[in-house]
Structure formats: C-alpha cells, structure tokens
C-alpha cells in the first residue's frame, strides 16, 4: 500500500489531551487515547485546523528550515504571493524579493507569475473544449486531498493542471541549469509557504509523479531573518526581480484565481467547512450554472494560512494595495518558455476511501449493524470525553477495533455504580451472615 506522508504532526510532550482539537478536524482524523492526541494519517488532509485550535501549541507542521538550503550549490526561492502581505513597511514587491537574495538565495521567481501561466493554461483548456464544467480549482492541496478521500465523484472535475508552486519550480529547474551549467540535483528549489498542505504536496504530489520542489520553508520560520534583511536593504538600488502582474499576486486572496479567469459564473469559497458543504452540493449536481469553483481550505484564502505570521485580514488589505500598483495586462507578455503540455497533469488522483467500514460489503453491512446497536447504547451527547469526536465516531472506532464501550465516561460511571451496588449487596449478605452466627 501507498505510504502516507502528511506534514501536520503532534508534539507529544506538549499535548495535554484536552480534546479541543478533535471536533475541529474536518475529516475526523484525530483521536485522544491515553491522554494524547493521535492523527489517523490516512485521513489527514493537512488543512491545519488543529494547528490553529490547539491551545497548547502541540500541533505543528513538519517543514524545512532555512539552513537546509546550504545543501545545494544553487539556491532558488519561489515565494507564495502571501509572503508579500506579511510586512508592515513593504510597499514594493521587489523589496521582499531582494531580501530573499540577501538572506542566501541565488535566484528568486514569483509563484504569482506561475499562477498567471496556470490561468492562461486554464483558458486554453476551456477554449479547446478539453475540460468539463464545473471546473474545480486544484490550487489548494488540502482541498484536492479532501476530494480524493471524500468526493470521488468530483475527481473528474478537478482542473488537471500543476499548481503554481509546481510550475514555478519547473521553470526554475530548467532556467537554473541553463544559467549555471550545474546538475539538476545541485540546484535546490524552495517554496516559501503559508501552509502545511504544500509541504505534503511537494513530498507526495498529486497529478504528477515527482515534485520539482526540493524543500518547503514556512513563512513564519523565515519571517525574522527576512524582516532584518528588509530593514538593511538599500531601497534605492534594488534589483528588478518582480515579474507578476495584478492577477497573479491576487491568487493569495480569496477569489483571486477565479477573478483572473472569468468575470462571472464562478464561486469562490474559503474555510474548510464551507468548502465541504459546497462540495456536497457540487457532488449532487445542485449548482447548475457554475463554471468554475475556487475552493480554499483557509479562511480568506492563502493569506489565512496556518504558517503565516500576519493576521489574514490585515495581509489581505496590504496585498490589495500592492496589487493596485501592478498592471492588469502583463499576464500574456514576456511569457516564460513553457507550453500547455508542460503544465498538464500526467496522472489523475485516485479515489482512496477513508470512510468505508470494510473492503467486503457484506462485512461492512454487518459492521454498520453493530455500529448502530452500539450507538443506541451510547448517551448520544457527543461530549468527546472518550477522545472520539462524537458518539457515532466512537461506535465506528469500536467496530474498527480502535475503541471500547468503556471509553465512554457515562458507560464507565454506570458500570462503577453497578459494581458498587453489588459490593453493597455483598456486604449486606455478609452482615446477615454475621447475625445468623
């Protein structure tokens, strides 16, 4: 079976077993057992909800550190446009890009520029009738993973294009080899990321067999060195590194991808729970007039990512003001040397059912029967004290062999009460016995 990599993990020492996280996971992937949280790895889509909610900072994302770039001879940064909104003093994207070079990167290429290439490729696919509606954006890896495990009926609606991160990496691998004459493996391409899901996407990409991204550095981990570099920069002598226009930078925000593509007939939805309800409706054919659905797991779009520093709404305002200084019309000009065929998916994500109770349907039906019976015996309060997110989930865990009816505190209390009663009875019997003596 396939190996599952996921970026979000638990710091056991910090976890207090407080169960705050279990109800917030959209795929019910978290259980608390023996006072520690566990993530069921096949179910985790790396949305980062649990990172946001944990009051003890026990949930973290595994990402690379800035020192990892030293493993490579030629170091390339590909920043997500979200990065531009993190700094209070920045009013020119070139400042951020020059600062990246100042902290050790040899070259920088904007993922926002690659986003424009994806928009143009999407337009081509639509023009050539090579895609059916409604198209679902594949920019958010958490959403693509959610669809793969929960909405198999929508896999065919996924936009079959590499993400802007992947496109940027592909371009930079090629141009860096040409420029330096180095071997491909001597070039290190690092995505500067607002989220954990992109890390997973670089380790286990969907739609392509191997990612061109060598490492993923969290925005929050690069924020301090970058801020220092920004402060030291000679702002009058900046190298001109920015190439993305208004449309590409807008991808960081909710609705950015869709509005770069079309003026109407789209929806853009953000926040993982909203996304789930829209996917349910899309799956049931309920939106008949929608052509494009931009779906993002984080509230407000990528600016709301769990690995960012700045408040997502503040970052949104800053990015909008940076965008106003950029042209709307640069998308088609100075196109990097890349064809539609280079950005198409080479494989389709496969359905992986995380819900089914058993591979054998007869057995699944028996298990469901047992599950219903167990559920009837539970108090149905969904208190979470057992460590499962709901009474239904506990019943399911029990039939899967991952739980016990006595995990329920109410069942346990009943049991203890009845044991206590038995003891009293026993004791009384013994007293009677004594009297008889």
């Amino acid at each position: 079976m396939q190996q599952y990599f996921h970026s979000v993990t638990l710091d056991s020492d910090k976890c207090k077993g407080c169960i705050n996280c279990i109800k917030h996971c959209p795929t019910e992937a978290i259980r608390v057992r023996q006072s520690k949280a566990h993530i069921i790895k096949e179910r985790c889509i790396d949305c980062g909800e649990c990172i946001r909610i944990c009051p003890h900072n026990a949930k973290k994302a595994v990402t690379d550190s800035l020192s990892d770039i030293e493993k490579y001879k030629y170091k390339v940064a590909i920043p997500a446009p979200t990065l531009y909104g993190q700094f209070e003093t920045v009013d020119d994207i070139n400042v951020v890009l020059n600062a990246l070079k100042a902290i050790g990167f040899d070259a920088v290429f904007e993922v926002a520029r690659a986003a424009e290439i994806v928009t143009l490729a999407t337009k081509d696919l639509i023009l050539q009738n090579r895609i059916s509606f409604p198209i679902i954006s594949t920019a958010c890896p958490a959403v693509v993973r959610l669809i793969r495990v929960r909405f198999p009926g929508l896999i065919d609606n996924l936009l079959p294009l590499l993400s802007p991160m992947e496109v940027a990496a592909k371009i930079m691998r090629k141009t860096s080899i040409e420029k330096t004459g180095l071997k491909p493996e001597e070039i290190g391409i690092f995505f500067i990321s607002p989220c954990a899901a992109k890390m997973t996407d670089s380790k286990e990409p969907l739609g392509t067999s191997k990612s061109e991204v060598d490492g993923v550095i969290a925005i929050k981990d690069i924020y301090i060195p970058l801020t220092k570099a920004i402060n030291k920069l000679d702002k009058d002598n900046l190298e001109s590194l920015a190439s993305a226009g208004r449309h590409g930078v807008g991808w960081a925000l909710n609705g950015g991808e869709a509005s770069a593509l079309t003026d109407d007939e789209y929806i853009s939805v953000n926040g993982i729970n909203n996304v789930i309800s829209v996917l349910e409706e899309l799956d049931e054919n309920k939106f008949r007039n929608i052509k494009f659905a931009e779906l993002g797991a984080c509230t407000g779009g990528c600016v709301g990512g769990p690995l960012t520093v700045e408040n997502g709404f503040v970052a949104d305002t800053r990015i909008k003001s940076l965008m106003r200084k950029l042209s709307k019309y640069t998308m088609e000009s100075n196109m990097p040397d890349i064809r539609l065929e280079d950005v198409l998916w080479t494989s389709k994500p496969e359905y992986f059912s995380i819900m089914k109770l058993d591979d054998d349907m007869e057995k699944a039906m028996q298990k469901m029967q047992q599950m219903d019976e167990i559920f009837e015996r539970l108090p149905q309060l969904d208190c979470g004290s057992c460590g499962s997110p709901s009474c239904k989930a506990l019943a399911e865990d029990i039939v899967r062999g991952k739980g016990n009816e006595m995990d329920c505190v109410f069942n346990l209390r009943k049991r203890v009460q009845s044991l206590a009663k038995e003891m009293i009875n026993l004791d009384e019997n013994m007293i009677n016995f004594k009297y008889e003596e």
Partner: protein, 141 residues
C-alpha cells in the same frame, strides 16, 4: 448470503427548508461507509434528491425509505399530496407546474422526473389524485 438489508427511514418535512436534501445526503454517507462505488453514490444522491424536492414543492412533504443490499438500493418516496394527473406529461423534460415561489427559489426546471428516470435503473410511480404519490426507484450496483 446477501439477505442482510440495511434500512433507513426519513421524514421529509416541507416547512423546514434548510433540511431539504437531508435524507439524500444522509443516505449518501451511509452508502459511502458501506463502500459503494462513487458512481452509485452519485446516482442515488441525484435521483433521491430530486424525489425529495418534489415531495417538498409539490406534495407537502412525505416519507423516504431506503433498503440497501449489496446488489441494489431501493428508494421509496411516499406522500399524501395532490397526485400527478398525467404521469407521461410530468416525465417530459422541462414540464413543470411549480409555483412562482418555488421557481424563485431555483426549483421547477422540470428536470426532476427526467433525471430520476435517467439515473435509476427502475422507476415506478403510483399516484392517485387527491390521495398521494409513491415513487419507487431501484438503483443496481
């Protein structure tokens, strides 16, 4: 062997507009847990949702019963509404008697029965004017 049948029952309440689609949505989740293939889930969800909607906009609600076995899913939708005077006509693409109000809510495209016929392997409608309508659909796996 396959005499295990899982049954589901739902009351479809016409007044609670928020809950429209709940019966078909819950049914889909159960089928997902039982491991039915995506294509079956989709057919059941679409056909059942259309039937559920019809009970709400044309018949003042009703009941939905589902019998699941590994080979087939049988859906029975029963209402005590006005009945359908001309089934053949009602089945036609685009035919609808939906009220202005229902149309303003996005219903009444006249595609419901047509879709149910397309997505279900069997569709049986029994109806009596003034008494009610029973729609039975079978979806084979």
């Amino acid at each position: 062997m396959s005499d295990i049948v899982k049954t589901l029952h739902y009351d479809v309440d016409p007044k609670d507009f928020d809950s429209v689609g709940e019966a078909s949505g819950k049914t889909k989740n159960v089928l997902r847990q039982l491991g039915f293939p995506p294509e079956v889930l989709r057919r059941v969800a679409i056909a059942m949702y259309e039937g559920e909607i019809n009970m709400v906009i044309h018949a003042n609600g009703g009941t939905a019963d589902v019998e699941i076995s590994p080979k087939q899913i049988k859906i029975t939708l029963k209402d005590n509404g006005p009945g359908i005077p001309d089934i053949e006509k009602a089945m036609q693409k685009g035919y609808s008697t939906a009220s202005e109000e229902a149309r303003s809510l996005g219903f009444g495209a006249g595609m419901g029965l047509f879709n149910m016929d397309t997505y279900a392997d069997e569709l049986n409608i029994t109806t009596k004017i003034g008494v009610g309508t029973t729609v039975e659909m079978i979806i084979r796996t």
